[in-house]
Symmetry: C2
Subunit: 337 residues, 2 copies
């Protein structure tokens, strides 16, 4: 029989963890194992601080996701918040609630996923908390660093700015649709969409480049759908926006999946959650440089999808036929009915 959390106990678990997490850098004076980690901030930097809670059956399902993937994704959603601030991720603390009978091997895979998810972005797990719980619950709280006064904020969009997005939109929503509607149709596209849903890649490099090159002051990550995020950004900045349907970047996997399944890919792009791409703004004068430099330096596609306009003009969506309608926020609301 394989060991459970109960067999190992909280303190045995913490011992095992410390071995796995043991890694230092100039930022981490003391990692997991004390009442708190000790960190040494880099002089001249500000810190960004964010957190995300994921609950089994709401945000993830271990039927469609391995514990390791869950670990990687728990990191990714927080790394994406750092990316949206233009910050370099540095350290995080992870809380895990798990049933007593949960297989210990799976918990260790989850922890390996955390390390795997953080490593490419320079983010270390420096502590956490583990408790008993009926359902699996994961909370990550993350710190990043950014040059003083240079963080990308939601409230810095200016009239006339170009609106950009990274990557392609709607893939994660399409992936979720495919996972919940298994079948043979469009089967070539499905694994690609599943991957985009289960293992989103946070756009940390792009966020850092936007700050370091002085390209942008304003960004948000697309976690609740483009429609929702454009609205957030405009509300915070006190501006309006025009978004062009034809400009929204769609992957060929999503287009193909939607064609076969008779779905509208734009619905996923506008209202599907969890893409974790960046939406950012920049003056027109920088647009050409941005498009070239980001592609060359990071390999990530960047697409202009519209413009920031005055608040009076509202937040509008211009469809394929040139018709304008308000772009309503229909993204995911965790308490919506």
């Amino acid at each position: 029989m394989s060991k459970t959390m109960r067999d190992v106990g909280e303190f045995g678990f913490i011992r095992d963890l410390r071995t796995r997490l043991a890694s230092r850098n100039p930022f981490v004076v003391l990692g997991a194992g004390d009442d708190a980690a000790i960190l040494r901030p880099t002089p001249g930097r500000e810190m960004v601080f964010t957190t995300d809670l994921m609950v089994e059956g709401r945000h993830f399902d271990l039927k469609t996701m391995t514990p390791r993937q869950l670990g990687v994704k728990s990191m990714a959603v927080n790394l994406s918040d750092c990316a949206a601030m233009g910050a370099q991720p540095k350290a995080c603390v992870v809380s895990l609630g798990a049933p007593k009978t949960f297989p210990y091997k799976k918990i260790m895979s989850f922890c390996d996923g955390l390390v795997q998810g953080g490593r490419p972005f320079g983010c270390l797990v420096v502590g956490g908390d583990t408790v008993g719980s009926d359902k699996l619950v994961v909370n990550v709280a993350m710190l990043g660093e950014v040059e003083k006064g240079k963080a990308l904020r939601r409230d810095e969009a200016k009239e006339g700015d170009v609106l950009f997005v990274t990557g392609t939109l709607g893939d994660s929503g399409g992936g979720w649709h495919s996972l919940s509607h298994p079948g043979q149709k469009a089967k070539e596209a499905r694994p690609i969409l599943h991957q985009r849903h289960l293992a989103p890649v946070p756009r940390c490099q792009v966020g850092r480049l936007l700050v370091r090159a002085g390209f942008s002051r304003c960004a948000i990550d697309i976690s609740d759908g483009l429609s929702s995020e454009v609205n957030h950004l405009c509300e915070e900045s006190g501006v309006g926006a025009e978004v062009h349907a034809q400009a929204i970047p769609l992957s060929s996997a999503l287009s193909y999946y939607c064609r076969e399944m008779r779905l509208d890919p734009l619905t996923f792009a506008l209202d599907g959650g969890e893409d974790y791409e960046l939406l950012f703004t920049a003056p027109v004068s920088k647009a050409a440089k941005i498009l070239g430099r980001i592609a060359v330096s990071t390999g990530v596609r960047v697409t202009p999808i519209g413009r920031i306009v005055s608040a009076q003009k509202g937040i509008r969506f211009i469809d394929e036929k040139g018709r304008r309608r308000p772009l309503k926020a229909k993204g995911f609301d965790h308490f919506g009915s």
Copy 2:
């Protein structure tokens, strides 16, 4: 009918919250509302970073605790971790999982409790995450600041040091016992013990004084019972300890309750959880100063309960009759059977 989380929605909730949390200080450049908060670390300080997860039915029960008390306590357990590091609490992010049908008024009371819990200690709520969940789930992640190289660590106890504790031990365990065994016996003592269980006071002032006065390098907070924490501290420091039963500070409320209920108060002091007092060590030469200065400056009682000895001598408990036995860690294990 009163409003629920579903009626208000995630974004309505966040709007309400921002109004309640709106408060700035030189440390907080940008509070709740963006992808992450922006913080400005104090030059020359290090940061401590800690997190605690609480799950309904495991760590708290809304039958015996108001939502406001839950808010205050969620802060207290993290503030206590900062105290144990000797750090000044600065900012935290709070994740809340709640059922869609949860009354909105209770959520707001919980948030008021967070603010109320943090304010006396200078800690602001700068962000968070809210999600749907069957049971109430609360996670707080907190940052504090401490003078470079001065944090109180578990691994700094030295042979010959005196072992001190703040306050009285076992009250929280007694309070929990009383809440789960309602009755008329010892009824004068019960409210005092309930208060100690439901609203523990983090020892931040003591922690700061230990650092600033150079009294101690080594502390841990007593969240899982004295027996457990003495063992943690000794293991990390590679030392042994002697703890004297007669020296362990007990409140008159606990003594009275236990006499009436025919219970042993020492069991609560040694193995009961959630006292959130500090256990710390200091050289004998500083003992007199510590006892005087802490009482005068903070009003908190400090009691020497034993000595740090060599690892070879082990971790021993000396009972009222002078008999020695190993002090085994029997504190709370979240995954124990």
